[in-house]
Symmetry: C2
Subunit: 585 residues, 2 copies
Amino acid sequence: MYRTHTCGELRIANINTNVTLAGWVQRIRDFGGMSFIDLRDRYGITQLVIDENTNQPVVAQIGQLGREYVIQVKGMVRERSSKNMNIPTGEIEIALTEILILNPSLVPPFTIQDDTDGGDELRMKYRYLDLRRNAVKQNIELRHKMAQETRRYFDDQGFLEIETPVLMKSTPEGARDFVVPSRTNPGMFYALPQSPQTFKQILMVAGYDRYFQIVKCFRDEDLRADRQPEFTQIDCEMSFVEQEDILNTFEGMLRHLFKKIKGIGFDQPFLRMSFEDAMNNYGNDKPDLRFDMKIHELTGKLQGKGFGVFDQSPYIGGICATGAANYSRKQIDELTEWVKRPQIGAKGLIYIRFGNDGVKSSIDKFFNAEELAEIGNLFGAKTGDMIFVLSGEKKKTLGQLSELRLETGNRLGLRDKNRFVPLWVVDFPLFEWDEGTQRFYAMHHPFTSPKPEDMEFFESDPGRVRANAYDCVVNGVELGGGSIRIHDQKLQQKMFKVLGFTKEQAEYQFGFIMNAFTYGAPPHGGIAFGFDRLVSMFSGLDSIRDVIAFPKNNSGRDVMIDSPSTISKEQLEELQISLDLKDNK
Amino acid sequence: MYRTHTCGELRIANINTNVTLAGWVQRIRDFGGMSFIDLRDRYGITQLVIDENTNQPVVAQIGQLGREYVIQVKGMVRERSSKNMNIPTGEIEIALTEILILNPSLVPPFTIQDDTDGGDELRMKYRYLDLRRNAVKQNIELRHKMAQETRRYFDDQGFLEIETPVLMKSTPEGARDFVVPSRTNPGMFYALPQSPQTFKQILMVAGYDRYFQIVKCFRDEDLRADRQPEFTQIDCEMSFVEQEDILNTFEGMLRHLFKKIKGIGFDQPFLRMSFEDAMNNYGNDKPDLRFDMKIHELTGKLQGKGFGVFDQSPYIGGICATGAANYSRKQIDELTEWVKRPQIGAKGLIYIRFGNDGVKSSIDKFFNAEELAEIGNLFGAKTGDMIFVLSGEKKKTLGQLSELRLETGNRLGLRDKNRFVPLWVVDFPLFEWDEGTQRFYAMHHPFTSPKPEDMEFFESDPGRVRANAYDCVVNGVELGGGSIRIHDQKLQQKMFKVLGFTKEQAEYQFGFIMNAFTYGAPPHGGIAFGFDRLVSMFSGLDSIRDVIAFPKNNSGRDVMIDSPSTISKEQLEELQISLDLKDNK
């Protein structure tokens, strides 16, 4: 062992102990007669001190050291004269008697500090240096802790962690698969799992009634910001349960994590909200409930008063921003430009201000004070508040109102990263109609079960059928989702029919799992949580990238190892494939 | 919830409780006035009883049931009149009042029992039924427990579990990679990791001084028996440590697992043996030390006495099989045939029998009693023992003696599956000479460090240099191996030179990690354990297949989901690759 203690360990109680430490040189300060080195390792920073009068050979070595050199040092712990109470080792320092350079370092291309001067691209290229920064290290440690606590919870609840294959089979439904050519089966391919969905349902058929896995999944998508081609899920499935059992079990998991990791408890059961209420009241199936600011429909109230924009809109809705009446003309203009950006796409923004000097609005021409007051009552608006109104096609406008609500929440400081409001969104529609292909798609997946009470519409009005499907949402972020599956074959066949599959197509795509289901499939259901997302929420980050040790960039490249890369002619020949590059680059 | 209790839970204390159970019909027995159903779930089997006099509607349902039907039942717990003390629920039964068929089942193609009538191929095709068998289920549960305990140990020791990428980069050295074409980077490929070796060393450079991961690895090899294209490793790396620290830490891991899982403790430190001793004394770098039966070299003693076979052999060696003197002529012939099989490849087998009637051998013609007795003394042979002798080229003969030793151990019942003898094999050679390519290869990998005391031979006689490399061997099975890595760049360059790399080749293949090492790489080393192998050893199995939920067969196929499979023309086009099948099938 190269050390007796770590750099985060020594305290006032260790004074007069001879110690050996090893780590990286964070900083060297030379004060004439006295030099100081901050020595860093995973556990902290310890101050080393070299007195020029007493340590001649050691003093000579200091000149050779540079930032990020790896050194081993020996010395005695002593009390600092000027203490630093901001760090745990701040009351002591080591009076050095020996320095051994274990490895030199080139000058790193950016500073190893919380506020580094390295840009994103540089940090990713030198990720091994970036990972030394405390800000990144904390996330990696948090991720470890959360993974262990997740497993502990499930283990205590009688779940078994079972590894499912990574070399799987390509399925045409769903997102694009990554595929792996098989050398021993020429012309054939494995696929990497988008999720272990099939295998976890198979495990239920196999009788493993409580399964979980923290597992890598893969999706060959065009990468948007904050998507990764490989990501990690907490994947779970249970048998002999109903929706309520699932919600309780996984509410338990989140409570366990919040308690163990963040010391946060929730007095009340998690809120429940139907998909329909979420859409109507928040314009969004993953509402951020850290603040209220519900959307109210105003179509009936605001039409027929001669304001053309409203009269031509199938839907009018608004939100009431508490305490925003003092917004200046400039702020309102800014917000108007904000909603008009192509990403939001609103035509304009109407406001009704409830100021000290009475109610004023941008549509005063069409509405009298009484009518505006009535609108205010609908929202419970008080003096000091401001109502914002958007109009247009219903679904679109609700979406815009949702964005406006979140942005207003941001501007009013209502979205505190240290407050967490968890929510179950339930009663999702079973089907989604796609205009392009003129067919229904399964909103969750084709094995999701319908609500029995909606079965009367199953064939006559599929769009009206709700599913036993649920999402777990915290602070407006969807952390996980799942459903109770269909275990009855007749119902499954009906489902395929509505989805427009012929019997042959259904057989081709899902024959294997349907076959497994003929051998005694129990009632079952499950859920999957995005683990990267969960960790990033706990660490207060907006992006998942910094909770992943080695993330890929937006082109799916690992710029540190320079991957993907070309492979040799011999490799291609062995796999019996050839490149067929188009001139589209 | 479909049940109040599981099928493994009810005891005499639950008598007179009304319960609801759910599970699979294991067996139905009709005794005229009385019917019995064995209901099975993951937790056990509970006996259900239906009395024809009292439960008319329920009686009628029994006729509809078949093996593996999924049912929910209600009834009252009562004491059995005829108890079955072999199962935990054997003192009670449930007097049924209700049966609900949750799902019917086709007749399974084999019996769901420990001794199933299903062959290997059938079991793999219907793996979901096979997994219902207690014999398989126990392995899956054991695997879960071992994974949790492994993590617990490392977590307690301050290790961080850090996920490394699955979409990596192909490296030409080592075994064959599985590759993944990148759609967004046409003509380029990711590779699946054969191990996270590069990334774990990068993590050491990044300062994460105790890393572990239970991780899937991939190797596109021609599958021998008991190899899987995807397998699971316990992968570990530590910084600021020497070999001794690593051995102690991972000996600790094994002790923890043996204690927690099997209740077995080891009084003594694990044995240590040099590679050289292992090869000379056991003919094998992973000796099974459950029994002694050391190999002794007899070249000097047995040559020059006129026995041509010996006189022409560069090496003669033997083992002493304690208590084997009573082997019959037939048994010796059988063993002779066994060593002559092509897999072993010996020319013949010489024996020296130490019977009650004196010493007899198959080479009596050439050696007198005194000479044979002297050989006996060398082995410490006693009356009742038998010495077997093989001769030929040294390395080959030692290998044959090793096989013979193991086989003899088997036949003498010396290899008890419930006894475990762990061993560290150390001081492996750094290089292996390859006759075919006339160059040295790194025996472990090119980052393995040499023993400082052997550095004098590094350039003059590389074959003589020993490495800081170690294997963990239990009962003749290599469970894991690792090394202290090179962290000094000058030494690393010397290493590449001996391995025959030009500077450019080294740069091309290892430039990225070499570059990382210029920014302050700490002294470090690590180890990886084969998790599948470890679990199969703990479960007393010879094969790793039954400790994997969904294994692939010897052609790398998953016969359950029928994978790998063809993919669509559109998929190939998007990936800009085409098939280039040879007519070699």
